[in-house]
Symmetry: C2
C-alpha cells in the first residue's frame, strides 16, 4: 500500500470499514506512518456544484504531481452514488486518473459512525502517502462539524443561483472556514452573491485568529479560477504551519481518536455482546415499561456487562 | 412543571442542558411520566420556510386546545437566533402563545451532544404534559438522522423556488419521511415541484411499510393548507398506533437513551476527570509523537482511568 498500489489501498479501506479487531490492529500499525497529509474539506449546500469542484481540484493537483485522495461523505454526492439526479459521468474524469483515489464514506449508520469512518479513512490515505486528502461533505448544518474538524483547510462552496441559502452560512460554519469559494461564477446574480460572501468574510476575519478568509470565484465546470483556488489552499497551508496550527489540530485529533476508541471498546462492544446473548432485552423492557429510568438501567448494565466482561477477560 | 408552569419547565430544560449529576437525577425522576407525547419532526433545506411552518402549525394545534412544545435544533433557525438574515419578528406569534413553549437546542457542541440534548428536551416536554412536541432540524443530509429518529411523524418541507435541492431528498430521507410538505405553494414553479415530490412519494411508498406517504401543499405565511397538514399528521399517528409502531420506536429510543447514558458515564466522565487532573496530556503527547497508537493509548487509559476510577469509587 505504501508503494502506491490502489488495490491494496482499497482493501485496507474496506478492512477498516468492516471494523472490529482487524481494523483496530491495522489502524494501530498505520499510526506511525500518518501525520503528513494536508486534509482539505469541501462543503456546501446541494446545488453549489461541490462535487464538480472536488473533481476538477483533484485533477489539478494530480497533474501537478501530487497523489490525491478523495473521501466523499455527502450521501447525495454523485461520488457516493446517492444522487437521484446526479450525472455521475461528470465525475468519471478524476476517478480514472492514476494518481487519484476516490472512496465514499457514506454509510447508513449514525453520524458518530460516519465521522469515525471518515476519520479512519483519512488515516489510511495518509499512511499510503496520499497528500492532499480531500473530504467532501454536505455540511449545511452545524451537524457535520465533527467530520469537518478533520480538515486543515475547510472550503465552503456557494453558488449564485441558490435561494435563501445565505442562512446556512451561519457563524459556526464561518468560524471554521479557511476559504469561501463562489462556484458557477458565470451565472446571473454572481455580483450580488459575491458581495454577500465578501461581507461574510469581512465579518469572519474580525473573529478569526489572523487568517484573512479569502473569497475565490471559480467555474468548476470549465476549470476557470481553479488555479486561484489552489493558490489559496497553498497559502492557507503555509499560514497553518507558520502559526503551528497543524500541531494544535493534531493534538485535538489525537484526543478525538482516543475518545472514539474508548467509545467502541467501552460502549459499543459491551452493548453488542449483551444484545447477542439476550441480556439487553430485559433492560430495554424495563425502560419502556417505566420500571427503570435509562440511568438506572445503565448502572445495572455497567455492573453486569461492562465490569463483568472486563473481569471475565482478566483485565484486572 | 406538571401543572403547566412555563417558568418551571424552562428551569428544568436549563438544568438538563447544563448536564452533570443534577440533570441525570432529574431525567431519571421524570422518566416514569414520559412516553405520552407525539413527536413531530420538521426538516427541510434553508429557504423552504420550515420555521414559518413550525410557527403556524404550533399555533393551529394550540388553538385546538393542545399544549405544544417546540424544539429548534437548526442553528440557522430564527427560533434559535442563529439566522443572519432571518426575520425573527415573523416567529413571535407562536412564542407569545400561552400554550406554546419554544426552546432552542442549538449548541456549539458536537452532534452527539446536540442529539442528546434534543432527546432529553423531548423527555422534559413530554413529562411536563406537552403533546405534540415539534422538533425542527435543518436535516438536509443523512447527518441529522440521529436527531430525526426522535420524531414519530417526520415531515420533510420543500419549496418551489429551491434550485437543485431535489438531490437532498435522497433515499435515506425519504425512507424516514411520514409526510412531504410543499411550502410556498403560491409561488411559480409549484406544479413542476409538486410533480417531482409526488414521483418521490410514489417511489418511497414502494419501499415503505404500508404507510402511503402523502404530499401536502401549504402556504405557511398565510396559513393556507395547514388544516390539511394537521389532518395528515393525525392520520399518521392513527396509523402508527394501529400498526404498533410507536411501541417499536419506544424500544429503539430506550436503547439509544441507554447508550447515551453509558457514553456519558464510561467515556465522557473519565476523560473529563483525566483532563482535569493532568493525566490525559502525556497520553495525547504519546499519540501525537507516534509513540502510541490511539488504540494502545486507549488501552492504557482504560487500565488506569476507567477501571481505576470504578475501583476508587468502590464499584467492585
Amino acid at each position: 500500500m505504501r508503494g502506491g498500489s490502489k488495490r491494496e489501498l482499497g482493501e485496507a479501506l474496506s478492512l477498516v470499514e468492516r471494523g472490529g479487531e482487524p481494523a483496530a490492529r491495522l489502524l494501530a500499525r498505520l499510526h506511525a506512518m500518518t501525520g503528513g497529509a494536508h486534509v482539505i474539506g469541501i462543503t456546501g449546500p446541494p446545488g453549489s456544484g461541490k462535487s464538480t469542484l472536488v473533481n476538477v481540484l483533484a485533477l489539478h493537483l494530480a497533474e501537478a504531481g501530487r497523489r490525491v485522495g478523495v473521501i466523499a461523505v455527502d450521501p447525495s454526492s454523485p461520488f457516493t452514488g446517492g444522487a437521484l439526479l446526479g450525472d455521475r459521468v461528470r465525475m468519471s474524469r478524476a476517478s480514472g486518473h492514476p494518481s487519484i483515489f476516490i472512496r465514499s464514506a457514506a454509510t447508513r449508520c449514525s453520524l458518530g459512525g460516519l465521522a469515525r469512518t471518515t476519520h479512519q479513512f483519512v488515516r489510511v490515505f495518509d499512511a499510503a502517502g496520499y497528500d492532499p486528502i480531500i473530504v467532501e461533505t454536505v455540511g449545511v448544518g452545524q451537524s457535520e462539524v465533527d467530520i469537518w474538524k478533520l480538515a486543515h483547510t475547510p472550503i465552503v462552496v456557494e453558488a449564485p443561483a441558490l435561494g435563501d441559502d445565505i442562512q446556512a452560512m451561519k457563524a459556526g460554519v464561518l468560524e471554521i472556514a479557511a476559504i469561501l469559494c463562489l462556484n458557477k461564477a458565470d451565472l446571473d446574480g454572481v455580483d450580488a452573491k459575491l458581495r454577500q460572501l465578501r461581507e461574510l468574510a469581512g465579518f469572519a476575519r474580525e473573529h478569526g485568529g489572523g487568517w484573512k478568509l479569502p473569497v475565490v470565484s471559480v467555474v468548476a465546470q470549465s476549470g476557470q479560477g481553479v488555479d486561484k483556488l489552489v493558490d489559496a489552499v497553498a497559502a492557507h497551508l503555509q499560514w497553518l504551519d507558520r502559526e503551528q496550527r497543524r500541531q494544535a489540530m493534531e493534538r485535538e485529533r489525537a484526543a478525538a481518536e482516543l475518545r472514539s476508541v474508548l467509545e467502541a471498546e467501552l460502549v459499543d462492544a459491551p452493548l453488542a455482546t449483551a444484545r447477542a446473548d439476550g441480556r439487553l432485552t430485559p433492560l430495554i423492557d424495563a425502560i419502556v415499561e417505566r420500571r427503570l429510568s435509562p440511568t438506572a438501567a445503565a448502572s445495572e448494565f455497567m455492573r453486569v456487562a461492562v465490569l463483568g466482561t472486563a473481569q471475565a477477560e482478566g483485565r484486572w
